[in-house]
């Protein structure tokens, strides 16, 4: 399996260490490099011991929201009748994000082992890996891995002779960004339209097929075996306090060496872009960066000299998100970026909640009007106001995801919007005064 970009010597390779190794996706390679040691270790542990170790690692969900993983697992009720499930979110559709497919291509057994450890921690017997439909090559690849795992006794009954049983399946999506949201994903898994559910109850209590369910991202599960092997404290110490370990960052846009790189949490963002990413292309200056997927508020170049961890990003008014970092040079048209982002959310809004369905539609219309040269100054104000009125008024975070980057782009790059309006000969001064 070939690498899409060369690795950097400045990476800290914890979960990507097998990338590029010959036959890295085969069971024998995995077993020869410490595979399933962690699984065998936890077979001797109580569920609480596993959850405590994951809590000690301060691992936070790698899908976007950054919720502490050990805490999430601890919400699964202990003494209830009936089945419990594991669901892996491999829907990877946040624009800018392309890391989960690498983890599943190069090291699928690492994720499987993480799933088994989670299953032991919460008492689950069955799981699904929900993979976006566009990744058909990956579904076929993963199905062949599952087949090998079953044949060799690493899935199914009495796994690796431990007496532990677990079944795992792939499930294809069919093209819907919304299905990356956990409750919409669960609806899709049940064969329905991917619209969000109201919470509570959270999936830990009522998830897949209304049974208690642990639902995490591919990268989150892939991290668990190394945490058990090295210890929660060792993993936590790789990062910064409350932001344990490493994560995969997908660097894209106007840099010399775009690629997916594994770095410790808390690495300085400018250092990452300049040293690992090779700096800006064509000798240009940076204008802005979207740090973690298109849902995240944008940072101006002068705001990017900060550590890449969940808390520092929150302090800077943005998010680490799903690790999809998109860097833009000085020539980038921010109005067109805002429009392109909104076209995406308008296309992907599932239509369930009116503020999102109507909000994204009208925001796209207003942004198009500005870009087409027909905008007035009040459009610029209205874009910001309408986006703000969507915040927190929907079942799922898609409404917020559409609003947040828009608000930040209008606020931080307002002169560019005004320049578009100024080129419109019909934008009368009276209209500027309205409101």
């Amino acid at each position: 399996m070939k690498l899409y970009n060369p690795p950097s010597p400045l990476e800290t390779k914890v979960i990507s260490k097998r990338f590029g190794v010959e036959n890295s996706w085969r069971l024998d390679t995995y077993l020869a490099t410490g595979g399933f040691e962690a699984f065998k270790k936890v077979m001797e542990w109580t569920p609480d011991q596993i959850i405590d170790e994951v809590k000690a690692s301060s691992l936070r969900g790698r899908g976007g929201a950054g919720f502490p993983t050990g805490l999430k697992w601890s919400f699964v009720p202990k003494n209830v009748e009936g089945p419990k499930y594991i669901v892996v979110n491999a829907d990877e559709s946040e624009p800018g994000t392309c890391k989960d497919r690498l983890l599943m291509e190069h090291d699928p057994y690492q994720m499987i082992e993480g799933i088994l450890i989670a299953a032991k921690a919460v008492g689950a017997t069955k799981g699904w890996v929900y993979i976006r439909g566009e990744y058909r090559y990956l579904i076929d690849h993963f199905d062949s891995v599952l087949k090998e795992a079953y044949q060799r006794g690493y899935l199914g009954k009495n796994i690796a002779g431990t007496g532990f049983d677990f079944d795992l399946y792939s499930q294809t999506g069919a093209g819907a960004y919304e299905c990356g949201e956990e409750s919409a994903l669960l609806e899709s898994l049940e064969g329905k339209r991917g619209v969000p559910r109201i919470r509570p109850p959270f999936p830990a209590v009522s998830g897949a097929f209304q049974a208690p369910t642990v639902l995490n991202n591919v990268e989150t599960f892939s991290t668990v075996p190394e945490i058990i092997r090295g210890g929660g404290k060792w993993y936590a110490d790789l990062g910064t306090p409350k932001n344990g370990g490493t994560r995969m960052v997908c660097l894209a846009g106007h840099v010399n060496k775009p690629g997916v790189y594994e770095v410790p949490l808390g690495m300085n963002m400018m250092y990452f872009i300049n040293e690992i990413g090779g700096g800006m292309w064509k000798g240009k200056k940076m204008k802005a960066t979207i740090p973690g997927g298109s849902s995240c508020p944008i940072l101006r170049a002068d705001e990017c000299d900060i550590p890449m961890d969940y808390d520092s990003m929150a302090k800077a008014g943005t998010m680490l998100g799903s690790g999809g970092m998109m860097v833009m040079d000085e020539d980038t048209d921010m109005v067109k970026i805002a429009l392109r982002i909104m076209r995406f959310y308008k296309h992907e809004s599932c239509g369930w909640c009116i503020p999102c369905r109507e909000g994204t539609t009208w925001l796209q219309k207003m942004l198009s009007r500005i870009v087409d040269g027909n905008g007035a100054m009040r459009d610029v104000d209205m874009v910001g106001e309408l986006a703000k009125s969507m915040l927190g008024r929907t079942f799922c975070p898609l409404g917020d995801a559409a609003a947040m980057p828009t608000i930040s782009i209008v606020e931080k790059f307002r002169p560019e919007f005004e320049a578009y309006v100024a080129r419109n000969p019909f934008a009368s001064s009276e209209l500027v005064q309205v409101g």
Partner: protein
């Protein structure tokens, strides 16, 4: 409606994946895999899957209408999908798409009269660090230039 033995075997396996009485979970995978064989989600296919999963045709139809990869009309033999979302846009995705429109003589979600090529401007396909990216049917092509796009298209028969 009959399917190939391979697809029937896949369906039979899929139906074992879900808890008892919850076989509807297989609907989306069945639609995706059957669409590949049939060429489109036809009324017959929807009726057949509804019957097999003991749900109404309407319950199938509302799912088909929701997901962007499920289509009721056949696409070209080669379905060219060009991403123009932000990461690809920053590295020339929109120019690739415009070039493809001119070269193929079709626009978004249109198919050539010959049935050879169809074109779609798609949202993020998860290849952002190797942008701009396109998919031909299910195959990815990364870091595509205009001349490479020409080569890819000319290489397809």
């Amino acid at each position: 409606m009959t399917f190939s033995p391979e697809l029937e075997a896949r369906f039979a396996d899929l139906l074992t994946h879900y808890p008892p009485g919850r076989q509807r979970g297989a609907l989306i995978p069945m639609l995706m895999y059957a669409q590949d064989e049939v060429g489109a989600v036809t009324p017959d296919l929807m009726a057949e899957l509804a019957k097999r999963l003991d749900i109404s045709v309407l319950q199938v139809d509302e799912v088909v209408g929701y997901y962007s990869m499920l289509h009721k009309k056949p696409q070209g033999k080669y379905h060219i999908q060009i991403c123009t979302n932000v990461a690809c846009m920053l590295r020339g995705g929109a120019e690739l798409y415009e070039h493809a429109c001119k070269k193929l003589g079709v626009g978004h979600k249109q198919t050539q009269a010959s049935g050879k090529f169809s074109l779609e401007e798609v949202e993020c396909i998860g290849a952002c660090s190797w942008a701009p990216a396109i998919q031909v049917n299910y195959d990815f092509h990364h870091e595509v230039t205009v001349s490479q796009l020409d080569q890819v298209l000319e290489g397809l028969q």
